[in-house]
Subunit: 82 residues, 2 copies
């Protein structure tokens, strides 16, 4: 019986969902950074899970992508149905 899949950290879920949501909306990191008032490097680091992003910046990113923040922290939200 394979071990239950390790629970992904909140940081990595947010990183993956942010990237997916951005790509689904065909928005570049540059455009997202501009809309959110953050730097492109910062957005790139958040998407790679290298930043312990704060809630204020999470709110800015969600608003810039016009997506509810809860969708960006939900591990199931962008899961392709197996």
């Amino acid at each position: 019986m394979t071990k239950n899949k390790e629970k992904q950290s909140a940081r990595m879920v947010f990183a993956a969902n942010l990237r997916l949501a951005r790509r689904l909306r065909d928005v570049s990191q540059e455009a997202l950074a501009l809309d959110a008032g953050l730097s492109r490097t910062y957005v790139s680091e958040v998407e790679r899970g290298e930043r312990n992003v704060s809630i204020d910046n999470m709110g800015l990113l969600a608003d810039a992508l016009q997506i509810p923040l809860k969708d960006l922290v939900d591990p199931e939200r962008f899961k392709v149905l197996d």
Copy 2:
């Protein structure tokens, strides 16, 4: 026509939901802080919206309360049906 209710910031939604979720589970700030590996003062400041809490700590708090993080950032989650 009254102006649409101002959108609550992500920080204030998390602050309010954390307090509600903790109380609904009858958990003290002390016990939550201990479970999450954070200080009681820190938990109290987060619940008052005084902390720009990071995603790693948001994950620790959600896990300690055994609630999905998405519920703690959802402004509708604990809304009492009008």
